[in-house]
Symmetry: C2
């Protein structure tokens, strides 16, 4: 990926980052890069994720999923990092079959999805490192029962991705299911380029070798300077802008197929950097659609955000058929892609015009190497930003409190302390 931070510099944007500050920050980037390189070399927890482009084994993944290759539909049961990476890859790149994700605990959704699916031709991919993720296990039990009720052998159609021990590993052993290991040292939100993201992608025709090759190129480009490393340019910039008042980070791809990527990024960013009272709020957007929804705010509201555009320079296109339409002469002879690109350029200019900082992340086209590079680049950017913020990038302790309370509530052991209530109802 290429990154252009020109529209986020002081002089164009307010808040904006002075070029001289970036020069000084680059010394900290060099130190952070040393730290990252050491972490990678030692396969330290978290940093190990940045080795995935080298370590992931696409042949082993293809071999493990081979027994399920005749499925038309892949139903992944997993939540958070156990589904978002895979969903990003399949939504952007799948060429065959249909992907579904049970990444919530919602009875209406589960029922309606199971009603719609032909389980005979559906492979189930259940993903939980620990094998104790409540939502995932609960959904899987419901799915398994549906197979049994319809007389379809679930053991012939289930792939397990999990750690070395736990409920799911036991289940796989007991029923001789194909099983893939979640690699050690890789937090869920950094697992897109591992078995977790690649196995369902492989089942749906994604060129996972290409994804990894693109990620490797980005990995090989990591250097000690933000001016030479697109990923670090992005990570350093978001850190520097947050400190100057850009407290929201709007991730806005201009391609429908990258809509899920923006969700993936929102998790990566929020769980990695949202701690110790720090962290921008990631906001998922989509161009050109959100020009008709969010642009009014971005241009005329407070200058408290960074907008990150993701745009492919090339791709498939469709000509707009000619028609004599009032006020639409400018569409004559144009293509949908040209219209989209003109809107993108105009939106970027429209934010620069009011000094709202933006960054342009460019890829050549939405294909396997570019998406692999984009995911790796954003992971590296996040790790760098974490070093600059001085937070523990790879943990997410703040989600534990609520999990404990939810368990207590279900056991009936615990009642919630009453907080203040001010309830307003219709008369």
């Amino acid at each position: 990926m290429d990154v252009d931070i020109g529209n986020a510099l002081a002089g164009v944007a307010t808040p904006g980052v002075p070029r001289s500050y970036l020069d000084r920050l680059d010394e900290r980037v060099a130190d952070a890069h040393d730290r990252i390189r050491t972490g990678m070399a030692d396969d330290e927890f978290g940093y190990a994720a940045l080795n995935l482009p080298e370590r992931a084994d696409p042949d082993a993944i293809r071999a493990a999923v081979a027994p399920l290759a005749d499925a038309d539909t892949v139903l992944t049961v997993g939540i958070g990092g156990s589904s978002l990476g895979a969903a990003t890859l399949t939504d952007a790149l799948a060429t065959e079959g249909e992907a579904h994700y049970l990444d919530n605990v919602d009875p209406a959704q589960v029922s309606s999805l199971l009603d719609d699916l032909d389980l005979e031709s559906t492979a189930v991919n259940v993903v939980s490192r620990s094998g104790t993720t409540a939502e995932t296990l609960a959904n899987f039990l419901v799915v398994r029962e549906a197979y049994e009720e319809r007389g379809v052998d679930w053991t012939e159609r289930t792939l397990v991705t999990t750690g070395d021990s736990g409920n799911l590993r036991d289940l796989a052993d007991e029923h001789d299911l194909p099983v893939l290991a979640v690699p050690d040292g890789v937090p869920g939100r950094f697992s897109a380029l591992s078995t977790v993201g690649l196995a369902p992608a492989a089942l749906l025709g994604v060129d996972i070798e290409g994804v990894l090759a693109g990620a490797r190129e980005e990995r090989d480009a990591l250097s000690g300077s933000l001016f030479e490393t697109p990923a670090y340019a992005y990570g350093a910039l978001l850190y520097a802008l947050d400190g100057r008042g850009a407290h929201a980070n709007v991730m806005m791809p201009y391609h429908e197929s990258l809509e899920t990527y923006a969700e993936w990024y929102a998790q990566l960013h929020a769980e990695s950097l949202g701690k110790d009272g720090l962290g921008q709020t990631p906001v998922r957007a989509l161009g050109a659609t959100d020009q008709h929804s969010q642009l009014q705010l971005y241009r005329a509201g407070p200058n408290d955000k960074l907008v990150t555009f993701v745009h492919a320079r090339d791709g498939p296109d469709v000509p707009i058929p000619s028609a004599d339409l009032d006020g639409l002469d400018y569409l004559a002879g144009a293509t949908l892609g040209e219209l989209r690109d003109a809107e993108f350029a105009a939106t970027e200019a429209s934010l620069a015009d009011v000094g709202l900082p933006s960054v342009r992340v460019e890829i050549e086209r939405v294909d396997a190497p570019a998406v692999g590079g984009l995911l790796f680049g954003m992971e590296a950017a996040t790790v760098l930003a974490g070093e600059l913020y001085g937070v523990e990038t790879f943990v997410q302790p703040a989600v534990e409190w609520g999990k404990e309370v939810a368990r207590g509530l279900l056991r009936g052991e615990e009642a919630l302390e009453e907080t203040e209530s001010l309830r307003v109802t219709r008369e």
Copy 2:
């Protein structure tokens, strides 16, 4: 809808709103309500939208869509307010058929969607008040050509929703297409309860009479006090919290079927209140999924946000089949709904525990009256908030600049002024 603002009051939350401030603010709410009531009585631009629950004519809508009633699939071509209201209703409430929305300008998406659709059984619903929305007209021309290329008569399958004149009105007249009028005085983002939102919903089995009935109940509940009007309690609270530092507003329904509602709300909020340097950043979230993505940030990041939960007290449920799983004893005998509700309660408590302000919007169940009431309530909340902020709620001037530039670029008349570029590429 009921609204509980207890967890956003000073004492629980920081920032939080003192109860005494709300008492004083209520005088301004009374004045704003007078203003709103006058606007409604005079059918003033924008305020007229709050009359839709009375004025929308479900019989006329059902009559207009009747010629298309045999379609299995409804493809709505429209962007922003021309699609989000309909998508909210069909995603939450559709009981038959399949809904698709072309609400972007993306050649890859258009091609792949048209490849997948059986146009013989697909109705096209093209929506643009002016008949000059570039994205919508361009997409429609491509769709129409696809019908022609496949030898399917598009004039038998197209419904038009537009203003009194313009390209789409001419087209409808020329080909004798069923046509519905976009009501006067109703901005796109406030049009969910009009022909714009209700026509595609009617085609997909939504009880549009029920939607309107629920909205009417909420309308009848509007009063001069925030303590007696749930919609005003919400609008007043978000205004008061923004002033105290809650600059993001996370809309987080705990039902998959309301995911699109959160997108609809983000447009309503951003385009209505994002102006004159003011306006919270709306953030779309989804419970329980985003507990595994965003909760870390909400609980441990800066206290600069309001989280708005939407939760139904009742609904369909699915028992979790029993299984002897390590560490998951608490699931024994529970249902998916109970698990979801426990997670919701725990998440709400977990934010109160750290003083992050939240509001609970409760509905009885996700059904037509409740969703109608929710949409109307959020519209009224937004109008009230606009009065309190002192902004022009119903216009969106900041999106025009970029449109002009995009047109100029496509005509080749205009080149963008070069802004600063600092491009970082891989070596």
